[in-house]
Symmetry: C2
Subunit: 180 residues, 2 copies
């Protein structure tokens, strides 16, 4: 039984990007981690066996992009495309939806976590389908005032708050979905 | 110089009430506090000198409503009305807007904090006018899936995360507005 973790960075007012798709400092803590952020990032690196992300998140990455997550990545898209190697990882493009991506990620993840890493549309699809087991939100002290919302019509669900860790410039909140 | 604290309960997905204006368990922690919630509520009781709230929040309270905040309350409304006594407190009705309510609250608060206690519309008016100095969010582990959003067009602002306290069923997050 694989655990599906939705792991997202969010502003206090609920956005994953600003009105012009700008980062607005949301990922500053990630690129220069201190305090508990160092532990939280390392924990993700150790525990994730496969990543699922939207094509826009994939496309937004700069040339020469590398991540510490040396696991198979499954990119949701509408256009068939051969797998791509980047930074020692393989990116597989999945055109037949989130259930298919999840099935492939389960094959690849071994005993480890499957991480849904955004963007907002991918996160919402997984939430609406009831496919998320845990949520980790890295809550950043900024009001974006607009942009791309993480939670929108996500459905009503109770959560169990399982961990709260404070770092400079971010709070890491972890929850388990309560499935009744 | 009075500090204006916006103090709100919010679901993880950003709502202060559900699609049918239901509480959805958002205030469970408040009515049966444990852990740090006991301290956080007591701190509010000790530090607040005047409250500002919207008429709907006032109107939503049940008969015989009592609160531990034994300070003057200023209720934003559109209909002139004489002050009302409830539970030993005086509720003053303010028809000429948030700046007037704030001026009256400052007169009443002595050296203490002025607390803006909702609802969402009142909070948004204060945020948009740049009249908030600090924000405390009691973040509740529930996805409402819809309802009344707290942050909507609040304007873009950096915050300083000044305190994170975990309680059973809620996380108390405190921020200072960074005014540049």
């Amino acid at each position: 039984m694989h655990t599906v973790l939705l792991d997202m960075v969010m502003s206090l007012d609920g956005f994953v990007a600003g009105p012009n798709n700008e980062d607005g400092g949301l990922h500053d803590w990630y690129f220069a981690p201190s305090g508990n952020a160092v532990f939280v990032i390392d924990e993700l690196i150790q525990s994730i066996g496969a990543m699922i992300l939207g094509n826009q998140v994939f496309g937004n990455q700069p040339d020469g992009w590398d991540t510490p997550y040396k696991v198979p990545h499954f990119v949701l898209t509408h256009t068939p495309r051969k797998p791509v190697e980047r930074g020692g990882m393989t990116f597989y493009f999945v055109t037949d939806g989130i259930e298919s991506a999840l099935a492939q990620a389960k094959e690849a993840a071994g005993e480890k976590l499957i991480c849904v890493a955004g963007g907002a549309s991918t996160a919402q699809q997984f939430l609406q389908a009831g496919l998320v087991d845990e949520i980790q939100i890295h809550l950043v002290p900024v009001l974006m005032g607009g942009g791309l919302r993480l939670f929108d019509q996500s459905g009503a669900t109770k959560l169990e708050q399982t961990r709260v860790l404070e770092s400079p410039g971010v709070t890491h909140l972890r929850y388990r979905m309560v499935k009744e």
